[in-house]
């Protein structure tokens, strides 16, 4: 009985979660004039004109490519610097460890509106304006601290006897880290990769500040649908549906790692 109640609750929640997305899908399959003319629970004359526009106009589809490039760069950079650092925080005591750990997170706490202006100056000065790497580096400001924090949590859940045993068995640190330790926390690596991807993917202000044309992200291009005649809801909804797809692919790849978690005695 109890299990049933849980499942019903979960189904209701997921139903509510999906409805606004369904509404966006509905809008994306209608022309803007049709959307504004009448209320309809489902599209009566399905049209792919909005999607066609995105796939044939390079200023639209390049937005997805640009976002994808800097988001992947950011995820790789964030994970590769955060993994060793998180290990250090979870295993060792060193001068200033607690202070540095908290300082990292303070970098997520600044209101971005005014802080974005100096970013423009900084990246113009070093000649990285309008490049993918500039956005990827700028996003490290909030993704690296998050990655360190999440990974540290997972690493602290692993008993240290595992490290000690491996070192006694003659494993070098890099070999132990790559072949024993990372597989143990792959749930954490999966979650972290997804979160880095997600936060970099949806961030708008810094990405827009640091790009002009060559690396312009999709989230900035989408603001162009606001014209003198108002919003083009159909086009925006289609673009919104398409922004979900890359992230769904990422979570599809890491889902097994997230779900399996960690079981003792696998070593």
């Amino acid at each position: 009985m109890k299990v049933k109640k849980k499942t019903i609750g979960l189904l209701i929640y997921f139903g509510i979660l999906v409805i606004p997305i369904y509404w966006m899908l509905n809008m994306s399959l209608r022309s803007n004039a049709d959307i504004l003319a009448s209320f309809a629970l489902y599209p009566k004359d399905i049209t792919f004109v909005n999607y066609l526009k995105i796939f044939t106009d390079s200023s639209w589809y390049m937005g997805y490519v640009n976002s994808m490039i800097y988001v992947s760069m950011n995820t790789v950079i964030s994970l590769s610097v955060a993994l060793p650092a998180a290990y250090a925080f979870s295993r060792y005591q060193f001068v200033g460890d607690k202070q540095v750990f908290f300082w990292l997170l303070t970098n997520r706490m600044a209101p971005p509106a005014v802080f974005a202006l100096p970013f423009f100056q900084l990246y113009s000065t070093i000649g990285l304006m309008d490049t993918h790497i500039a956005v990827a580096l700028a996003h490290c400001l909030f993704n690296v601290p998050l990655a360190v924090w999440i990974l540290e949590g997972f690493m602290s859940g692993i008993p240290r006897e595992i490290d000690e045993t491996a070192f006694i068995d003659g494993y070098s640190f890099p070999r132990f880290f790559a072949t024993i330790f990372i597989p143990l926390i792959r749930a954490g690596v999966g979650v972290t990769a997804f979160f880095c991807f997600m936060f970099s993917w949806v961030e708008l202000l810094l990405a827009r500040t640091l790009t002009v044309t060559e690396a312009k992200p999709i989230s900035a291009i989408m603001t162009r649908t606001i014209s003198a005649t108002g919003l083009d809801y159909g086009l925006l909804a289609a673009a919104g549906i398409l922004t979900i797809i890359p992230g769904v692919m990422v979570i599809w790849f890491v889902r097994n790692h997230m779900a399996k978690g960690f079981a003792l005695g696998r070593v």
């Binding site: 979660l17 959307i35 629970l41 650092a85 060193f94 900084l122 949590g153 954490g188 202000l205 889902r255």
Partner: protein, 293 residues
């Protein structure tokens, strides 16, 4: 379980510090620079000391926005944390249901924030939105539902949007934390004949402390800094009823192009977020130690 004392661990942390400090320190210094000067053009500025800080701190409109912000973030934490944990507990542990749940939970998180606002406009509009048309067809309200009509409606719409958008983040973190608990703990609880509630409060909750700390801090920080979603949805209105702190900041700093007060405002804002995050962090650390002992 004392940690190994070893200052060589600094070498493992160094790359992180370099990469974060690169984007952190110069912008912070520049904003501090703005906040003590009156700037009216490139190269034209005078030092004004703490004048902007005094002006900003004495502004009653800032106080209004600040209280609104506290109410908003408080509600966000009170609703999203329990709801997220409940969802994580109810989710299946194996089988195809896991993948279905994880992917569905991720959907709202992957939409750019300005688009979230637009989705909720088309979802709640009383003429073309499913929610707007749905509520009004029930004919229960005196004033037809329209988030531009009444402050209360605007708040309800913004809260619905916020809970819809971010509860999945709490649920995903809590679920990952739950899956990291070794089966041995559950077996021990079974042998002891523990009830579902005591399993939750003595095993699951303490073991999830790490991820829940991250979830609380993330939700607090991000909801306190929220900008794009409510700005697109309500524009801060009706009146100023949904003008949250960063919407007000943008009004001052960028639309009126006053970098001085904007800088001072940003720094005060930053210190408030820092202060409360630190309190949450310390409190959650202490709770954890109590539970372990």
């Amino acid at each position: 379980m004392d940690k190994w004392g070893n200052n060589k661990a600094w070498f493992l942390v160094l790359p992180v510090i370099v990469i974060v400090a690169f984007s952190a320190i110069i912008p912070l210094m520049t904003v501090i620079n703005y906040s003590v000067q009156d700037i009216w053009g490139p190269g034209q500025s005078i030092f004004v000391g703490t004048e902007w800080f005094k002006e900003v701190l004495n502004s009653y409109r800032l106080h209004d926005a600040l209280w609104r912000q506290f109410l908003f973030s408080g509600l966000v934490l009170l609703i999203e944390m329990p709801l997220g944990i409940l969802i994580a507990l109810a989710m299946p542990k194996r089988g195809w249901g896991v993948s279905a749940c994880l992917v569905t939970l991720a959907l709202p998180l992957l939409i750019p924030w300005n688009t979230i606002g637009t989705i909720w406009i088309i979802f709640t509009r009383p003429d073309i939105g499913l929610l707007g048309v749905g509520i009004n067809s029930l004919d229960l309200l005196e004033v037809p539902f329209d988030h531009t009509a009444k402050p209360l409606y605007a708040w309800i719409t913004v809260m619905l949007m916020e809970v819809w958008h971010w509860t999945p983040l709490v649920a995903l973190l809590a679920y990952a934390g739950l899956r990291a608990i070794p089966d041995a703990y559950y077996q021990a609880a079974k042998i002891d004949g523990a009830s579902a509630w005591s399993t939750f409060s003595y095993i699951q909750l303490p073991k999830m402390r790490g991820v829940l700390t991250i979830a609380v801090l993330l939700r607090f920080m991000d909801s306190f800094l929220i900008y794009a979603e409510p700005f697109v949805l309500t524009g801060g209105g009706p009146g100023n009823s949904t003008t949250f702190l960063s919407i007000y900041l943008v009004k001052i700093a960028l639309l009126q192009f006053d970098l001085g007060p904007g800088g001072a405002f940003s720094l005060i804002y930053f210190v408030i977020v820092l202060f409360f995050s630190y309190i949450f962090y310390q409190a959650l650390q202490r709770v954890g130690k109590g539970a372990k002992g």
